[in-house]
């Protein structure tokens, strides 16, 4: 964690004509560099191989070991070792992975989920991958998502008794009895997360050009340099193009196809779209002007239960071209539903369109469920 005074989510001032004051530079530049270079992030594991009971909403995975926890939002020995408490409000990219010690041929469905909540209340669990499995090969579904944490536990203060947002990892199985998580070191269940975007900010900015400091006889002006190079740079890095949408209606179906043929999936509910770049009419997200770069993209396709075996795939369509598939898995018949997810870093140009693609080969149409989602988050120019 950075040394005190701890940085805050950057919100730079507008420079006006006059002297360039050191307190202003510290408040804006030092704070921003410190925050972005040391953003809240966490990686923790579960090494104890706990037994998870069948059914219900799933079980919270206790993270007994930390790789790093830059803002100390987690305490493996505290009252809630499965939670990472929000230390700075914002949108967080999070990933989870839960493998199971299960090697029989009887079909069991395994689900990895991410949950968010406010201490003192109940968690909201959002499904990740659901893998109905009978291949005797240690199933390991993952979860990836962009999650919102609003109520933070301020650095340098005592943890409040309630009212702090958190994120957690959940695991579920429907075998009818208890099953254990894996204890192999390279396959420990894990949760990772990092701050990606502020909850509010200035949209419409382009990727900063980061010009050099003016040299005399050039003048240093607020309009010519200070605001574009400092204020707007910080604003962009704090509130870059970030998007998340999911399908909620529960009425659409995904027809059966022969892979790699796929279908562009409709998304009817937008969680966040900082640059208002989603086209509901076309069901794709458009990279904003001036914002080309490397984007973290997450595609998840979630379908209803299947009466026969089949495969499910998730991927991206950029500009309507060849689908970039990232996950394709087989499932036996099941009553739990089936969901697959992929995470890729794509280099996208301004104006490029990104759509969620799904493909299933069950033989008949399957209902599309609300775990179907698309995330695009700018990471670098």
């Amino acid at each position: 964690m950075p040394l005190p005074p701890w940085p805050t989510v950057p919100n730079p001032s507008t420079w006006a004509a006059g002297p360039i004051l050191v307190p202003s530079l510290r408040a804006d530049v030092t704070n921003a560099v410190s925050f972005f270079a040391n953003r809240p992030s966490f990686l923790g594991w579960c090494t104890s191989g706990p037994a998870v009971p069948t059914g219900g909403s799933g079980s919270l995975v206790t993270l007994d070991t930390e790789a790093y926890d830059t803002w100390q939002g987690h305490d493996p020995l505290g009252a809630q070792p499965g939670w990472w408490y929000c230390r700075a409000p914002g949108w967080y990219l999070a990933e989870g992975y839960v493998p199971w010690s299960y090697n029989t041929a009887t079909t069991v469905s395994f689900t990895t989920s991410l949950a968010t909540g406010t201490s003192g209340g109940s968690p909201a669990i959002t499904t990740g991958e659901i893998h109905p499995t009978n291949d005797t090969r240690t199933p390991g579904p993952m979860a990836a998502d962009l999650v919102k944490l609003t109520n933070a536990w301020a650095p340098g203060t005592t943890l409040p008794a309630s009212g702090v947002d958190y994120i957690a990892l959940y695991a579920r199985q429907n075998s009818g009895g208890n099953l254990n998580l894996v204890t192999v070191a390279t396959q420990y269940p894990r949760l990772s997360l990092r701050w990606a975007c502020a909850l509010s900010g200035t949209a419409g900015l382009a990727v900063p050009s980061n010009p050099a400091w003016p040299v005399s006889p050039a003048y240093i002006t607020s309009a010519g340099y200070l605001n574009p190079a400092i204020r707007d740079t910080i604003r962009y890095l704090a509130y870059p193009p970030v998007f998340r949408a999911f399908y909620n209606a529960g009425t659409a179906n995904l027809g059966s196809q022969t892979f790699p043929a796929g279908t562009k999936l409709a998304l009817d509910t937008v969680s966040v779209d900082t640059y208002s770049a989603w086209s509901a009419a076309n069901n794709y997200w458009v990279v904003p002007a001036g914002c080309g770069g490397v984007y973290c993209c997450i595609a998840q396709v979630h379908v209803a239960s299947q009466s026969s075996a089949g495969s499910l795939a998730a991927g991206f369509s950029v500009n309507g071209g060849t689908t970039i598939w990232g996950k394709s898995a087989r499932s036996p018949s099941n009553s739990s539903g089936f969901a697959v997810s992929t995470v890729k870093r794509l280099r996208l140009n301004a104006g490029d369109t990104v759509a969620l693609m799904g493909s299933q080969s069950n033989g008949s149409a399957l209902g599309i469920n609300n775990g179907t989602r698309l995330v695009c988050a700018w990471e670098s120019s």
Binding site: T30, A37, S41, D135, P141, N210, I324, G326, T342, R345
Partner: protein, 179 residues
């Protein structure tokens, strides 16, 4: 690209900085935070996945490597010397259809030649390509640590093979996250 990783600027009241000082304090860290260290590659050459073992993914199509960290001899990537920090790694491993119904594909992240994390495990189809993978962070020493990706073809039904068709290839992407 030779920009140093971001140094937290220290502004001292009463100092008489030169323009170059402001470039170090303002331009350089913001340039790093805007144009982070990235690496992307994919596999377009025929490759065999050994049954029951981790097989190194020999990425041969380097999509971007601005800091020249890729080693084509070891199929591993090393961050630049000035790039110590936390990185996010995304791996996709792909395989042609399996020969039986008890085969699974796993993508594994390696650090300095040893397995570190499993990304995800996926039951393979007998009628179409299987793709698996995920994303995870790890901390790397610039100029020293090396990252590689492996595919574990978990089966007793014989070796598997990578899919090299565009849109279904094994991929590796790495981006700098923080110090």
């Amino acid at each position: 690209m030779t920009a140093p990783q971001p140094q937290i600027p220290l502004f001292i009241a009463g100092a008489q900085p030169a323009p170059s000082d402001f470039n170090s304090w303002i331009q350089a860290p913001f340039a790093w935070l805007t144009s982070k260290v990235v690496f992307r590659a994919e596999l377009s050459a025929a490759t065999t996945w050994i049954q029951g073992a981790n097989t190194l993914i020999p990425y041969n199509s380097i999509l971007e490597d601005p800091f020249s960290g890729w080693n084509p001899g070891t199929f591993s990537w090393t961050p630049p010397a000035q790039g110590t920090g936390t990185y996010e790694v995304s791996i996709t491993a792909s395989a042609a259809a399996a020969s039986d119904a008890t085969t699974a594909l796993r993508a594994v992240l390696y650090l300095n030649g040893s397995a570190l994390y499993t990304m995800s495990t996926t039951q393979a189809s007998q009628s179409q390509s299987c793709l698996t993978g995920g994303s995870a962070p790890l901390q790397l020493y610039g100029g020293q640590d090396s990252v590689s990706a492996y595919a574990f073809w978990n089966t007793t039904g014989g070796n598997g093979s990578a899919v090299t068709t565009a849109g279904q290839r094994s991929t590796l992407e790495i981006t700098w996250l923080s110090l």
